[in-house]
């Protein structure tokens, strides 16, 4: 059994969001980088659990990014995984990134490919579906549970107002969300071991960018809160009804 987990580097959840170069580039100044939480807490940790259950599982991690992504992929290796692959390319186009992952995955003949449900920077929710289509594999999105019995995966997927149970034979692409696993903190042994785990750098395959960012902006600031005294709840309800007209 071979598992591939897609890892993305994202700004920390508390990072200040600002732009430079006439609002065309994200301002990296002073930004702390982390493993995209959905990739780390849910996709990677579930893959590690599967390997813990069955030590014959081979677990690889992949990221598409420049050399500055290496501390992030090492941090992921500190949690678990046998080796990592970095595709040496920089792009924010989902199709381009998915094409790189698909090219590596095709050669690696993985049985299970995990992504997080989305990255917290571009919020595209796209990589998993695109990789699946490029490899002609089934895809279960926004899965909150995954169990394996032989080569059959049983998953729980979110639907409007409930959940659905899916059964799929491997190989399979899954995007993971809350519920799939619990966040782990890397221990010292993991951090030491990660230093010597192989990190392969491969050059990108030829692929197109289908989209481009022409500019960023910040949402208009709120006009300011209208405070209602605590002894006049009726006034708040009146404002919501007559002024905001929300019910």
């Amino acid at each position: 059994m071979k598992i591939l987990v897609c890892i993305s580097k994202t700004p920390d959840t508390t990072a200040k969001i600002a732009f430079t170069d006439n609002n065309t580039k994200f301002d990296n100044n002073g930004v702390q980088w982390i493993i995209n939480p959905y990739d780390e807490w849910y996709a990677l940790v579930r893959a590690i659990e599967l390997k813990e259950k069955d030590p014959s599982v081979v677990l690889h991690l992949i990221t598409v990014g420049g050399a500055d992504a290496e501390p992030i992929i090492r941090k992921a290796l500190a949690l678990g995984g046998d080796e990592a692959i970095r595709v040496n390319a920089d792009s924010h186009d989902s199709f381009y990134i998915a094409s790189q992952i698909a090219a590596v995955a095709k050669d690696g003949a993985y049985d299970l490919i995990f992504t997080g449900k989305e990255t917290i920077d571009y919020n595209g929710s796209s990589i998993g579906g695109m990789v699946a289509e490029l490899l002609d594999l089934p895809f279960v999105s926004l899965a909150a549970k995954l169990d394996l019995a032989g080569t059959t995966a049983t998953l729980t997927r979110e639907i409007e107002g409930g959940e659905e149970i899916n059964e799929v034979n491997l190989p399979l692409v899954v995007s993971a969300q809350k519920g799939m696993a619990e966040q782990r903190i890397p221990n010292m042994r993991g951090i030491m071991a990660a230093r010597t785990k192989p990190l392969k750098v491969v050059e990108p395959a030829a692929a197109d960018n289908l989209t481009a960012v022409t500019g960023f902006g910040l949402p208009p600031a709120k006009a300011g809160v209208k405070l209602v005294p605590a002894d006049n709840v009726e006034e708040l309800v009146r404002l919501l009804h007559e002024e905001a007209k929300v019910f």
Binding site: S94, K117, P138, F139, E163, N166, A212, F216, V246, F247
Partner: protein, 319 residues
Amino acid sequence: MSVLIFADIAEGQVKKSSLEALSYGSKVAAQLGTTAEAVVLGDNAGDLASLGKYGVKKVHHVSSSTLDNFDAQVYTKVIAEVALSAGADVIVLSNNLNGKAIAPRLSARLKAGLVSGAVALPDTASGFVVRKNVFSGKAYANISVSTPVKIISLNSNAYPVTEGEGTAEVVPANVTVDAPKVKVTGSTKASGEVSLTEAEIVVSAGRGLKGPENWGMVEDLAHVLHAATACSRPVADADWRPHHEHVGQTGFAIAPNLYVAIGISGAIQHLAGVNRSKVIVVINKDPEAPFFKAADYGIVGDAFEIVPKMTEAIKKIKG
């Protein structure tokens, strides 16, 4: 040339998020001087001619009981075939749960640039540029799509359902439907509750409520507002409330018309999941709670006194 909108159905009805997509797609078609058409998959589809109300002229209906079992791979192939035969150059989907599975597959299959989670109509003055939220709603990006076919998945609650007059022509679409590889073997629906991601009003509470036994008043308020209930991350982590109620950066991102936050301080990670709400009301005893900065209305005070009073006042108005 046309705009093709995928209308997602559940239990014989087009989902509200797809009605928004139909309204949006029809507007895009008008903007481009072309016609809007819809594609509907599955047997139990209801009255499709009535989708004309939302501006579509034609509905391609792929009727097959196989499609009652959702498999994104099968759906993608069917929609792609209909898009090709209809000569669609723009495909619109809702960025809802099924949309998130189909849109990226469709993009890769058709080599068509995808803007996922669009929040505004495309700017077609020069090129094709669509705005979407990025950094979990803390910013937006304008995305230019240069491919011949363009795909937009529309965030829920980002465009209003617009109803007019009209009847659509329903045409059966003759496409091969593959056997699904993903088999749906069961489903559970939280009955009687309002779905969190589709709700127009959400009532949410946090650690300020002190314990799970105090949620009755939150549920009462939600009930009179016909709202969904939600909670902050610490509350879900403490198992006071189920995880599927957790809104925030790592839980669900929602965009209701009204978000009522009770006893939630408003950490940046929580705001990232709710900052697309149209109106935010914050009830907190701490006047320094950061949430007040993001709120439209607020009350500084004791939630245990304020919330039941709110419920009563709303009951009076609603009669």
